[in-house]
């Protein structure tokens, strides 16, 4: 393929601004898929993605497009749109020369529009700005053009008006891709040099590696080397996604596709690594990517002890397809043997957890998530804390540090006051306000990540009636006056309920936590005191009264079936209880650490 006729691009947008619908439309109009094959969001092949309408894993599709008698190969590299997946966004962008930036004609510029647009600009991509969904009954096109201009410096005359859903303006999109995005360059006779931008694990064929070709050719039967580790492999198949895997003879400069080389583990393939010829290596490899940082952790424990190995297998399987997810075995006095799992963010955690429950069919107890902390000890050592129960109870801590993020809110102006109040309550440091036209503004804060991950999204949505959005990036660790709050249930310290919080909030949150637990734990034969403590000091207490009477009054012929079903249901519910001393605690209680809102 002559590189002059290749265009590599991605589509970036805020969530729900119509990225997947537009992608589907591009495939449909070029006959890459037929109407019959057409399903909503064809690029999202994980069930979870389809269900939640978000793209998690990048994919790449080769589209043949004909214009003025010339056939072009357009490679659409899909990117995830959510804040948790910045890392995947940037590596997808590195495979492209251009990006379509989609903005919803009604919602306008949102936090992830800004984040994604900057990511594209940083990757030196040509941006084709589009206002999407112009056929909506209510649009504010003129204002949206203003917002794009004031926040991103986009000139109104560059902007295309489209509707991915009905196909309006799609021809303009194709023309702009061909005319505005530069063709890739590269010497097809030079030694092979391709960049790995993703990979997936196939049960039968091993690792399928996604590459963007820079120089040389990649053919079946070639002996290749992965430069980072110097491992070499024989290429068994090369191909492109159309949109299913379609083998081809070779890939040349500028092309995007995949190869299979009998690599057994996804761990053997590093995103950002350089693929070259074993006998004729390229002189300078790509700089590579830094590994993603897991910032959110939670414990996952099987309810049945015997499921521990099964859970390990499932987690391993999961991590094959998602290198940004980690897990290590841990033990809890309360929950037994389980795993400490690390995620990029909350959405990432929810997705993994849903997939586990769906695909693995293991009953799990999941502990409330926490961020990762750093402890500077008296002896100068720095300890990384992924689990509140690892905080030493004895002294020796010189400094307790927590991760700080820069948060970028985009919201209607009448939400500024309440959000500033919320951020102040959450220990935020105000940075700036910028007005985008007359009705909306961009607000920047520095906040502890711990204060952001739990319910910032929900609070923002409720304060702004759904119109506010935010995005964040980690800027580092800072010392704070943090304490570990323990929970004692009938005198027994339940390690899995421990949490780390700011000293100023400890009493209020401790009280809220005890109240929540009182609601979650059902009555027992005896009274159950629930206490919150910092070290040995009790800061809050609630008491669950004893269960006194629990009798089905009538049990005659006609009642038995119905009562039996009722009891069976209760019995089923008991499976998700865990025994602590004499007290049974339901799974939900372990998440209640999360739900302690400010007003409790």
């Amino acid at each position: 393929m002559d590189p002059r006729f290749i265009r590599n691009f991605s589509i970036v947008a805020h969530i729900d601004h119509g990225k997947s619908t537009l992608a589907d439309q591009l495939l449909l109009q070029t006959g890459t898929i037929t109407q019959r094959e057409f399903r909503d969001q064809i690029l999202d092949d994980l069930d979870v993605e389809r269900e939640r309408g978000i793209t998690v894993k990048a994919r790449a599709v080769a589209i043949n497009y004909e214009q003025d008698g010339q056939v072009y190969e357009l490679n659409l590299v899909d990117t995830p749109g959510h804040v948790d997946f910045h890392y995947e966004v940037s590596r997808s962008l590195a495979a492209c020369e251009g990006a379509l930036l989609l903005v919803d004609a009604f919602q306008g510029v949102q936090a992830q529009t800004v984040a994604n647009a900057y990511a594209a600009i940083e990757s030196d991509l040509v941006i084709i700005p589009c206002i999407n969904k112009i056929d909506l009954p209510v649009v504010r096109t003129a204002e949206v053009l203003d917002e794009m201009n004031s926040v991103l410096g986009i000139r109104p005359e560059e902007v295309l008006m489209v509707s991915g859903k009905s196909g309006i303006g799609i021809t303009d999109v194709f023309r702009a891709i061909v005319e505005r995005i530069p063709a890739p360059s590269g010497d097809s006779t030079a030694p092979l040099k391709a960049m790995i931008f993703d990979g997936k694990y196939d049960n039968y064929r091993g690792v399928v590696t996604y590459v963007r070709m820079r120089e040389g050719r990649l053919r079946k039967g070639m002996k290749i080397a992965l430069m980072r580790k110097g491992t070499s492999h024989e290429v068994l198949e090369v191909g492109q996604f159309r949109p299913n895997m379609a083998p081809c003879d070779e890939l040349g400069p500028g092309q995007v596709g995949y190869f299979i080389a009998g690599i057994k583990e996804l761990g053997g393939v590093h995103v950002g690594d350089t693929v070259t010829e074993a006998n004729r290596p390229a002189s300078d490899p790509f700089p590579g990517y830094k590994q993603p940082q897991q910032m959110v952790f939670c414990g996952m424990y099987p309810i049945e002890k015997t499921d521990f190995e099964k859970l390990r297998d499932e987690l391993s399987k999961m991590s094959l397809n998602d290198a940004s997810f980690t897990f290590v075995p841990e033990t809890s006095d309360a929950l037994g043997f389980g795993f400490r799992c690390g995620f990029l963010g909350m959405l990432h955690m929810e997705i993994i957890q849903q997939r586990l429950e769906k695909e693995a069919n293991i009953d799990l107890i999941q502990t409330a998530p926490n961020v990762t902390y750093e402890l500077l000890m008296m002896d100068g050592e720095i300890q990384k804390i992924d689990n509140p129960q690892d905080v030493p109870n004895t002294g020796g801590i010189k400094e307790f540090r927590e991760p700080i993020v820069k948060v970028n809110f985009i919201l209607p102006v009448d939400g500024i006051g309440p959000i500033m109040q919320l951020c102040a309550d959450r220990r935020g440091i105000y940075k700036s306000t910028e007005y985008l036209g007359t009705t909306r503004a961009q607000l920047v804060y520095e906040l502890p990540l711990a204060e952001v991950i739990y319910d910032m999204h929900d609070r923002l949505k409720s304060i702004t009636r759904g119109y506010g959005t935010f995005d964040y990036e980690i800027i580092g660790f800072r010392p704070a006056d943090l304490v570990k709050v323990d929970i004692l249930v009938k005198g027994v310290r339940v390690d899995a309920l421990a949490s780390i919080m700011h000293r100023d909030n400890a009493e209020r949150r401790g009280r809220g936590l005890c109240k929540r637990l009182k609601e979650e734990i059902s009555k027992h034969q005896f009274e159950i005191p629930i206490q919150a403590a910092i070290g040995t000091r009790i800061i809050a207490r609630e008491t669950i009264a004893a269960l006194r009477k629990n009798v089905t009054a009538k049990c005659y012929g006609g009642d038995i079936t119905r009562k039996r079903k009722l009891w069976a249901k209760q019995r089923e519910g008991k499976k998700r209880l865990k025994q602590f001393g004499e007290v049974e605690i339901p799974q939900k209680a372990f998440l209640s650490v999360l739900d302690v809102s400010d007003d409790m």
């Binding site: 034969q525 269960l547 006194r548 009477k549 629990n550 009798v551 089905t552 009054a553 009538k554 049990c555 005659y556 012929g557 006609g558 038995i560 079936t561 039996r564 009891w567 069976a568 209760q570 019995r571 089923e572 008991k574 499976k575």
Partner: protein, 400 residues
């Protein structure tokens, strides 16, 4: 519960009992009479209120349903429940009881019970019919001797009337059982104590005490969710139940089942059938038949039930086939409701399971918690266990 075919008879067919081993043939029959003057706010039983126009159709339909027996059956207990069986007019009641007597041969010492609303027995006409046709036990829906509580329960009688009814029953059908309800919104411990005393003073053979339950679909349920009715506090309900448990035995009534007390020899033999997990015939809407491990319940809607019978179709609205283990677990659960508890030998003989294996570690656990105690040949609830019987039950139920 797996559906099996071939082994079991068609739905609604009872004639197949011919093929059963003698000990599996029911010796009890339950008849449901779904008529009431009005529906009380707490009641979710199968009944129609103010539809006396359906009574004649019901009587003809029962004639057809009973005919599925093909041949008269000998029974030890026959029980008419409702609804209100005594809501039938005396002539209808007479025809109905005659019909039942043609299909059921009462054994020599058989127990023939009829549930009755006190007000229906104020006059002697129905009492005479009942006595003449062999009814030898009356279960009276007294509920309370406190008129405020009766009003709250939406009952149509007054406390004084009960005394008159019991008085004139004493000559013809002296075996009288009184049903009482505690834990009624607004009811005090003193009101309950007075009700118990007045019940005892009438010297009935049997007393049932039921803690009020809020059932889905009743007006009580709706009013509770709207906050218009507040259930009795759990502590008060406890005190009330404890009072019954102390007071009735002191007056000579043995606490033989969680909600039932009786003078010696006056336990309700019909209800013992259920708690022993024994088979039972049943006819009428909402009535639950249990034969050879198959439970069939008539349509709970009286009009659907009527339409089915009249069309010559099976009026069964729900059917379940229990596996041997399901049956045994069920028998264990209902068996524990009896004060005598469950016995290892009887259980193995009647249900084919070893009690200890079926309960596994639950027995020890519950013994440690003081809810269960070992008896000579088995297990039973302790006094503490009777207050928390459902907590115990859940330990033994299967998870289907």
């Amino acid at each position: 519960m797996t559906e099996r075919t071939g082994v079991f008879p068609a739905t609604g067919d009872t004639a197949f009992v011919e093929t059963l081993a003698p000990f599996r043939v029911p010796r009890s029959a339950y008849i449901h009479v779904p008529f009431c003057r009005h529906r009380c706010g707490y009641c979710d039983f199968t009944l129609v209120a103010g539809r006396d126009d359906l009574i004649e159709r019901y009587l003809s339909a029962m004639e057809r349903e009973l005919a599925t027996l093909q041949t008269p059956r000998s029974v030890d207990t026959l029980f008419l429940g409702g609804g209100t069986p005594t809501h039938l007019a005396p002539a209808q009641l007479e025809r109905f009881l005659e019909l039942l007597r043609t299909w059921f041969d009462l054994a020599r010492d058989a127990e023939f019970s009829v549930e009755a609303n006190p007000r229906d027995l104020l006059e002697s006409d129905r009492v005479n019919v009942l006595a003449r046709l062999g009814v030898n036990r009356i279960s009276l829906g007294v509920q309370s001797f406190d008129d405020t509580v009766l009003k709250r329960l939406e009952r149509d009688h007054q406390a004084d009337e009960v005394e008159r009814v019991v008085e004139h029953l004493s000559r013809l059908i002296p075996n009288v059982a009184l049903d009482l309800i505690f834990g009624v919104p607004g009811q005090t411990l003193e009101s309950w104590r007075a009700t118990l005393e007045r019940a005892i003073a009438l010297r009935p053979a049997h007393v049932s005490t039921y803690g009020l339950t809020f059932e889905k679909g009743t007006t009580f349920w709706t009013r509770r969710s709207k906050g218009e009715l507040s259930p009795a506090p759990e502590d008060l309900e406890y005190e009330m139940y404890a009072l019954a448990m102390d007071r009735l035995p002191a007056a000579g009534y043995g606490h033989y089942e969680l909600s039932n007390f009786a003078r010696p020899g006056r336990d309700c033999r019909h209800n013992e059938t259920y708690w022993a997990g024994r088979p039972c015939f049943a006819f009428g809407p909402g009535a639950a038949r249990y034969i050879a491990g198959v439970r069939e319940i008539g349509h709970r809607s009286t009009t659907s039930w009527l339409a089915k019978v009249e069309a010559g179709e099976s009026p069964v609205g729900y059917r379940e086939e229990l596996t041997a283990e399901d049956r045994a677990r069920e028998a264990l659960i209902v068996g524990l409701r009896r004060t005598r508890g469950v016995s290892r030998d009887e259980f193995a003989r009647d249900h084919g399971f070893n009690l200890d294996e079926l309960g596994r570690s639950a027995w020890d656990r519950l013994c440690q918690r003081g809810l269960i105690e070992a008896t000579e040949g088995g297990y039973r609830l302790t006094r503490a266990g009777r207050f928390l019987a459902d907590t115990v039950t859940v330990e033994f139920v299967g998870t289907t």
